[in-house]
């Protein structure tokens, strides 16, 4: 369609028209590239926003002020577990997308994990999850209570912007000595006092079915 009138135009006009066409094409390509760039950037930004913890100070507070670490245990680095959960260090925020998705279904965000043990043996872990809407905590707790296999104690810490739920878990299959039990109990007691948390339920020493 465009080629027909250009045939009767003088050659100068033809050059101008060709330049206009190439400029339009260039503009079109730039717009396309821009759209892809925006889309790509928006995806990346969105992901970063999802993974970046809103409350990075909580881990520092937990470790510095709670005194939760049971006597005889230390913070240990288990590279396989740390990498699998997408943590930069122990303690750290979990960035494993499967776990983030699982928590977001309950309305939870910013999950973190603290690993305690001796050598390379994991003896206790603390998993914290933040709930912007505290009314959604009950559903999460009900789900936890139905998992009878787990040996966990669950605490709630209300804040100005929501509530933290902290799950202290020990291995369902390992046998803990009396000394370990009392050290864990002491640690949890210190945490409850220092962080002013509320115990929701304790099934640490129940025999799994």
């Amino acid at each position: 369609m465009n080629a027909e009138p250009s045939c009767i135009l003088p050659s100068g006009n033809l050059t101008v028209q060709a330049n206009v066409k190439s400029r339009e094409r260039l503009r079109f390509i730039l717009i396309l590239l821009g759209m892809f760039l925006v889309l790509g950037t928006s995806c990346q930004t969105h992901r970063d926003l999802e993974l970046a913890p809103d409350h990075p100070e909580v881990l520092h507070t937990l470790l510095e002020t709670s005194g939760i670490c049971p006597a005889g245990y230390d913070l240990i680095d288990v590279p396989n577990l740390r990498r699998a959960m997408g943590m930069k260090k122990n303690p750290g925020f979990i960035t494993n997308t499967s776990e983030l998705e699982a928590m977001s279904r309950f309305g939870g965000s910013d999950p973190f994990l603290v690993i305690y043990g001796t050598g390379q043996t994991i003896c206790m872990m603390v998993n914290g999850v933040f709930f912007r809407d505290p009314s959604r905590i009950e559903t999460f707790l009900q789900d936890l209570e139905q998992r009878r296999r787990l040996r966990i104690a669950v605490y709630e810490k209300p804040t100005d912007h929501g509530s933290w739920v902290m799950i202290c878990a020990i291995s369902p299959t390992r046998i803990y000595s009396e000394a370990e039990r009392s050290a864990i109990l002491d640690g949890l007691g210190r945490k409850q006092t220092n962080l002013n948390t509320r115990l929701r339920f304790n099934r640490l020493w129940e025999n799994p079915p």
Partner: protein, 350 residues
């Protein structure tokens, strides 16, 4: 099967009868009390058996969870893979805690049929539920080729409504539901049958269901391919009537064609089913089987009564099926048979 195997199966069945005799008769599931445990020595044996069942069930469930995680991690990107240590301490909370449906069914049985003597059998089927795949995939391992068009609740041990069921050494298949709505279900399965050489199989099955009041119409066509027997297709058409929650009447037409079926095989079954609970079902079936092509020939008439009930706790069922066959190959002679099977369930038993 060696004589010792026959003896073990016979002993199991006798134990089943003993338990069944001690169990109270029941009418409704809610009012149905669990069968009372026997006293003394028998009680000790039963307690031990119960403990073993719980251990074995725990093992089955743990194995299913591990396999589910393994298959999920094979397909998931590295940042989404589940970690066994984390799940050991906290569980995968993305999964519903009640989603574990894996059941291992062990079914020793014995069939006595006139003219053929006694035939002992041992069937097993393990249905590994894989909840991480949106609850739409099952891995099935069994020692017989199981046809999904047969309603599981009313499946009989030896004389099913299907012409396709056959004994194999082992069968491993992965079954996935591609699409499921209230009226439609499309499922695919792929696997290997060992006869004893491995034979790959593929199948696609569609189920269309229409409900109008107490009437149900169901069409279940399937297309399958087997490396040894080639292509084939079958279709099942059911007309059901549910006059009450406990009663069901059904007319089933089943057609089968495959490259090795020598024409089109067909069966027609009329069934009256009384199921006061999932734990007690009895049914009467009148059936005829034959060929439609190349010429219409009846091959057998069958009348059978099936009784299936829970006999111990929630994991031992007994199935008794007396019946009469009139097969063409025996010149329509009355051929009585009785099929007795014990079903032991391990895993996520409800």
């Amino acid at each position: 099967m060696p004589a010792l195997g026959h003896l073990v199966i016979l002993l199991c069945l006798m134990a089943g009868y003993t338990l069944a005799a001690g169990a109270p008769s029941t009418t409704h599931e809610k009012s149905e009390p669990a069968p009372q445990p026997a006293t003394g020595r028998v009680s000790g044996i039963l307690t031990g058996a119960n403990l073993q069942q719980q251990r074995a069930s725990g093992w089955v469930k743990r194995t299913a969870t591990r396999l589910d995680r393994f298959f999920f991690n094979l397909s998931a990107p590295s940042h989404a893979r589940r970690n066994a240590t984390f799940d050991h301490f906290f569980d995968d909370r993305g999964l519903d805690s009640s989603e574990q449906d894996t059941v291992l069914r062990l079914s020793p049985g014995i069939t006595v049929k006139e003219g053929e003597g006694t035939d002992a059998s041992f069937r097993f089927s393990l249905r590994l539920h894989l909840p991480r795949f949106e609850n739409q995939a099952d891995l099935v391992i069994a020692n017989f080729g199981q046809d999904d068009t047969v309603d599981d609740t009313f499946r009989t041990g030896r004389f099913s409504d299907s012409l396709l069921e056959e004994e194999t050494d082992r069968s491993i298949s992965l079954r996935a539901t591609v699409r499921e709505t209230r009226r439609l279900r499309l499922s695919l399965s792929t696997g290997v049958n060992f006869r004893p050489e491995p034979v790959p199989t593929l199948a696609a099955r569609l189920r269309l269901e229409e409900r109008e009041g107490i009437h149900v119409r169901r069409l279940t066509p399937a297309l399958f391919w087997d490396q040894r027997d080639g292509l084939g297709q079958n279709a099942r058409l059911d007309f059901e009537r549910h006059p009450s929650p406990e009663w069901k009447q059904r007319a089933s037409t089943f057609l089968l064609w495959s490259e090795t079926s020598e024409g089109i095989k067909a069966s027609e079954t009329l069934s009256w089913i009384h199921a006061p609970s999932r734990r007690r079902v009895q049914s009467l079936h009148l059936g005829a089987t034959g060929k439609l092509e190349p010429s219409t020939i009846m091959t057998a008439y069958i009348v059978r009564y099936n009784f299936y009930r829970l006999i111990y706790k929630n994991w031992v069922y007994l199935e008794v099926e007396p019946g009469v066959q009139f097969p063409r190959e025996r010149d329509w002679e009355t051929t009585p048979f009785v099929n007795i099977q014990l079903h032991v369930l391990l895993g996520a038993v409800r």
